[in-house]
């Protein structure tokens, strides 16, 4: 009878000791944002009885965590897009004078001035110099956009490296989880601190790409890059349960990604996170460059004056990058003023067409910037709410922990007294028998 009682009391003491260890760990991590609070799960032992800790429960909230990570992916993507568009907008910002608007207006104004007074030497010089300024401005914008694209390609290469490192670390964590699970299976399943590292890596990875993940029973994670809004179908498997990692490569010349299985992924596949932002921006810039080409073509096709009896293009070239001047100041010396009125009509109509073309381009950039700003601000607020809620649910509350520790302490003292009393009683009986 005494043996059983002491056995039961001993099991309770061991449970208290383990519980205290868990509570102390919670308190030690009160300021660790990646730490998820843990709680001991007690179970009754079969006859002769007693108590033990069957499991260490990790107080995580998977649903909230998934939504928080998705929101983080969107937030980082929109943040990058907003910041990048802020730069692109400066290339076409007419309010600050860096846009093309003033060059277009100056050029057409000087052509009209020349047509009204063809003998004026100053008007001729202004015509040629403003045409040259317009060519330079269009070429510069084109070169700036190309340089911007190249910078984005470099950023993609850096992000791919980070994704690969995180993927490798997650694969290692999966192997560690399997090892620690096997090692601690008989020790109340107390291996779950490693899951904090797993969650931290998932959070970091979510900043770069849109991931979908699932956990197995012991907490290992399987991660895929999934882009539901992408036109390209399929998914990239990044990490498997058994600790294998897929690595990505980016070829800046072909602008394609390749995974370890040799499958190629186009830029269009990535839509969210930082990688999605850089990929989308490269494609967006391609359309802006093509818009600049259209602007140059429109300019070449419509800006004409009559020289030597026939309508002559003022500009030459097939794109924004090779736009050049087709006439010189000496050509203007021979201008026949009888064509002035019809040429003024041609130039006025060309001015309207080119202006409209340019306005569409700058409005498109400005609209995209505003949209990303709206999306960024909304997602920032949402993410903040989710982070706070998640921290409330999974973080350590010092007051609660200290109350639990005090309860355990009192429990421990009561048990000690009971053991001491049982021992004294046993001694008394043994002495009485002797």
């Amino acid at each position: 009878m005494f043996g059983n009682s002491i056995g039961i009391l001993y099991s309770a003491l061991l449970s208290d000791q383990k519980s205290l260890e868990i509570r102390n760990r919670n308190v030690a991590n009160v300021n660790n944002p990646d730490y998820v609070k843990e709680e001991p799960v007690l179970q009754t032992l079969p006859t002769p009885g007693g108590v033990s800790i069957s499991d260490v429960k990790r107080l995580s909230d998977e649903v909230l965590q998934r939504q928080m990570l998705k929101s983080l992916t969107l937030l980082k993507g929109y943040e990058e897009k907003k910041n990048l568009y802020e730069v692109i907008e400066t290339y076409f910002d007419d309010a600050s004078g860096s846009g093309l608007g003033k060059y277009i207006d100056n050029f057409f104004r000087s052509v009209l001035q020349f047509l009204r007074d063809p003998a004026n030497e100053g008007a001729k010089e202004s015509f040629v110099s403003n045409a040259q300024n317009l060519i330079t401005a269009i070429r510069e914008r084109y070169q700036e956009l190309t340089a911007f694209q190249n910078n984005l390609k470099n950023e993609i290469s850096k992000v791919v490296k980070k994704i690969n490192t995180l993927t490798q670390n997650l694969a290692k964590v999966n192997r560690d989880i399997a090892f620690l699970y096997a090692k601690n299976k008989t020790n109340s399943n107390d291996y779950k601190n490693i899951l904090d590292e797993r969650d931290r890596l998932l959070k970091e990875l979510s900043q770069y790409v849109n991931i979908e993940y699932s956990f197995d029973q012991i907490g290992r994670v399987e991660v895929n890059i999934v882009e539901p809004t992408s036109t390209a179908s399929g998914y990239i498997s990044l990490v498997s349960y058994n600790g294998e990692a897929n690595q990505l490569e980016f070829d800046s010349n072909t602008q394609k990604f390749m995974d370890s299985n040799g499958i190629e992924w186009p830029l269009e596949f990535f839509k969210n996170g930082k990688l999605g932002a850089y990929s989308s921006l490269i494609l967006d810039i391609e359309t802006y460059k093509s818009d600049l080409d259209t602007l140059a073509t429109t300019l070449r096709a419509n800006a004409k004056i009559t020289l030597n009896g026939s309508l002559t293009q003022i500009f030459n070239g097939t794109s924004a990058s090779d736009l050049s001047l087709n006439i010189s100041k000496s050509d203007l010396d021979n201008y026949d003023s009888s064509n002035s009125e019809s040429d003024q009509n041609t130039i006025q109509s060309a001015w309207d067409t080119v202006r409209e073309n340019y306005s569409e381009l700058s409005a498109k950039i400005s609209e995209n910037y505003t949209n990303y700003q709206i999306k960024y601000e909304t997602e920032r607020d949402l993410n903040q709410t989710l982070e706070t809620k998640y921290a409330e649910k999974t973080g350590v509350n010092l007051d609660e922990e200290l109350a639990e520790i005090m309860k355990l302490q009192q429990h421990y003292q009561a048990l000690s007294k009971m053991i001491a009393t049982s021992t004294r009683l046993l001694d008394y009986i043994l002495n009485a028998i002797r």
Binding site: V63, T370, D381
Partner: protein, 81 residues
């Protein structure tokens, strides 16, 4: 003086930041949308804030839908559904 619509939009822009508060701000949202319907033209600031409010409503709706799907997936996994 700012219009009622702009004031309402500014208020919602500052206060209505989470899908967990839809119920709390629903009367304000309804009023602002009604005011927006009555107006023919908007100032650039009103237009931007209105766009933001509509985007927010879409995003929060998507959030709630996603939450419902995740929760039902979790319950199915736990055998409750």
């Amino acid at each position: 003086m700012e219009s009622k619509l702009l004031l309402g939009l500014l208020y919602l822009d500052k206060k209505f930041t989470s899908p967990f508060e839809v119920e709390k701000y629903l009367p304000h949202i309804e009023l602002v949308l009604k005011l927006a319907e009555q107006k023919e033209e908007y100032t650039p600031q009103e237009e931007k804030l209105l766009k933001k409010l509509l985007y927010k409503l879409d995003r929060f709706e998507e959030f709630v839908k996603e939450r419902k799907e995740l929760l039902s997936a979790k319950f199915k996994l736990e055998g409750r559904l």
